[in-house]
């Protein structure tokens, strides 16, 4: 499997990244090299091997369903690039 500049553009779109032409070229080469290296995993027969989901035997961590204090809105907004009326502000989503 070899990836093309077009694949890189597709993945960049999924990842919400905007790449320059030079970056696209560079990543195409580097990702191909890394994925080619990763193909060595195919040397191993993994039929019937359970994929690791957690390295420790740990399941369904629950806490009591109790209301607890949250961070105050004024503090949460301290790092907001833009805000209005106690909310994060972004460009209009609908025209």
């Amino acid at each position: 499997m070899s990836i093309t500049v077009k694949d890189v553009e597709h993945v960049a779109n999924l990842a919400r990244l905007e790449l320059t032409e030079a970056e696209k070229e560079q990543f195409t080469g580097q990702l191909n090299a890394i994925l080619k290296y990763a193909e060595k995993l195919n040397e191993l027969n993994t039929d019937g091997i359970e994929p690791t989901s957690h390295v420790r035997p740990m399941y369904n961590v629950m806490r009591e369903d109790k209301v607890a204090e949250s961070l105050p809105i004024e503090k949460v907004l301290l790092n907001a690039p833009d805000e209005e009326d106690g909310q994060f502000k972004v460009p209009a989503v609908l025209e």
Binding site: L17, L41, L44, V61
Partner: protein
């Protein structure tokens, strides 16, 4: 003997007997930073005013209860959030980020009344093994300023090695505590996955990330681990296990300890001098009454490919939160919301971070998930089983921390795959989720070599006991970089 050569417990005794004040300690830290950090570049942000104020408060309130960490200057890797103290992950994206809360490990250090001196440089979002991926500055190895300190906790290891702080916190995903500790000639401990809460640690690869201490000796590592270990409701992966008294385990007795030495960690690609130092360390263990045998961890050769697929996949998901909406640097004049996301991320992230997001997004994307992500999770199971089987027969596993000593700055830039191969001895351990420590075991070409001691899950006590017994019987940990 300078103050920085003392163990934490010895400094504690001096404070206790009033031979020393906290303010003097903190002043000495900033003085040392002033003298050395132009050359080393460990710190991204200094907490000078608040730290001096805190020191005076501690000195004035003499009645307070004092643990060993009381009053001690500590540095924190810049991916752990600190309330009111800029936390950047060495990324342009977070260059203006002032956290509104403390992470749990940091809170615990504050409860222990250590004094936070500042935030330490790292590879951007902890992705890298040399600190060359920091968006802000180069960190240099105190032993040789032309070489890297390792990474990603390179600032933490360099700061401890340069005597700028008494101890530091790092984080380890594939070797990021152990490898820089080895390169800088200090002690670095990656605890068992889940022993230390990651609440407030900016997530890179959540199935691997773990916080741990970087110190000058094993006893200090035990003291710091004691302070930060333990269950935390705010991190659902944090384990609810009994925490032993680590200091009391440092008996110096390793008679009959069974050591497995994986032949894969001493094979091709390992520098002959590094191998030599490890063999000498094994002789030392023998003379202390331990026994060792060569073993095989047969899936070692698949660990790096497995790791880069899994860690990058998890990173691509974790880093989706950096969208320019709630915090971080937002691109100017976006056309619309999608443009805001795209440009904020593209302007904020450096090349290695983009590369890993791309790799991870690809590995998780429709049509490739089974071939890459699922396959890697299955191989991870095989790698973990290697360790499970070895630990049926052996108490610890010993080998080098890294295949070489620290390499020259710039030597591996632009060649990500070669850079990834530096992690061959640390990554399998991370994938298995077991604890490991790196301790100094001598020099090669004048640069420090790290010995890695790996233990059973939650058996940090045995790892520390073995490391301490070895350390006490040698002088390697007393060597200091000439600065």
């Amino acid at each position: 003997m300078s103050l920085f050569d003392l163990r934490l417990s010895e400094v504690h005794n001096r404070l206790h007997h009033k031979d020393l004040s906290v303010s003097e300690l903190v002043d000495a830290s900033f003085k040392r930073i002033g003298e050395t950090d132009e050359r080393i570049g460990s710190f991204l942000t200094l907490n000078e005013e608040a730290a001096r104020l805190e020191a005076r408060k501690l000195d004035d309130n003499a009645s307070a209860e004092r643990g060993i960490l009381y009053g001690l200057p500590v540095g924190v890797k810049d991916n752990m959030v600190t309330e009111g103290l800029r936390t950047t992950c060495a990324s342009q994206f977070l260059s203006n980020y002032n956290p509104i809360y403390d992470g749990t490990a940091v809170s615990k250090l504050r409860e222990a009344q250590s004094v936070i001196i500042g935030k330490l440089n790292m590879d951007e979002f902890a992705m890298g093994g040399s600190n060359e991926n920091s968006a802000f500055k180069v960190t240099r190895n105190p032993w040789d300023l032309s070489r890297v300190p390792g990474g990603s906790s390179g600032g933490s290891a360099a700061a401890v090695a340069a005597g700028q702080v008494y101890y530091a916190l790092g984080s380890d995903t594939g070797g990021s505590i152990r490898q820089p500790a080895a390169y800088c000639g200090v002690v670095g401990l990656k605890p068992t996955y889940g022993l230390v809460s990651r609440y407030g640690l900016v997530a890179f690869a959540s199935s691997l990330d773990q916080i741990g201490p970087i110190t000058k000796n094993v006893e200090d590592a035990a003291v710091v681990l004691q302070a930060i270990a333990g269950h935390d409701q705010r991190d659902s992966t944090s384990a609810n296990v009994e925490i032993p008294d680590y200091l009391s385990q440092l008996t110096g007795d390793v008679k009959g300890l069974r050591i497995g030495v994986p032949k894969e960690y001493l094979g091709e690609g390992i520098d002959p001098q590094v191998k030599q130092r490890v063999m000498e360390a094994l002789k030392q263990f023998e003379s202390l009454g331990a026994v060792w045998e060569e073993i095989s961890l047969p899936h070692t050769d698949y660990a790096i490919a497995t790791y880069y697929l899994l860690a990058s996949s998890e990173a691509s998901s974790n880093l989706a939160r950096f969208d320019g909406v709630r915090y971080g640097v937002r691109a100017e004049n976006p056309d619309n919301l999608i443009d805001l996301y795209r440009r904020s991320r593209s302007e904020g992230f450096g090349p290695e971070v983009k590369r890993r997001i791309m790799l991870g997004t690809y590995a998780l994307s429709s049509g490739y998930y089974d071939a890459y992500y699922k396959k890697a999770q299955q191989v991870r199971t095989l790698i973990k089983q290697d360790f499970d089987q070895a630990f049926e027969k052996y108490d610890i596993i010993v080998g080098p921390t890294a295949p070489t000593v620290a390499f020259p700055i710039g030597a591996q830039v632009g060649d990500p795959l070669t850079m990834y191969l530096n992690d061959i001895c640390t990554i399998p351990v991370s994938l298995a989720g077991v604890p490991a420590i790196s301790v100094p075991c001598g020099l090669a070409d004048g640069m420090p070599v790290g010995l890695q001691i790996i233990g059973k899950p939650f058996d940090e006590a045995t790892v520390l006991r073995a490391a301490h017994a070895y350390e006490e019987s040698t002088d390697h940990h007393k060597l200091r970089a000439a600065l």
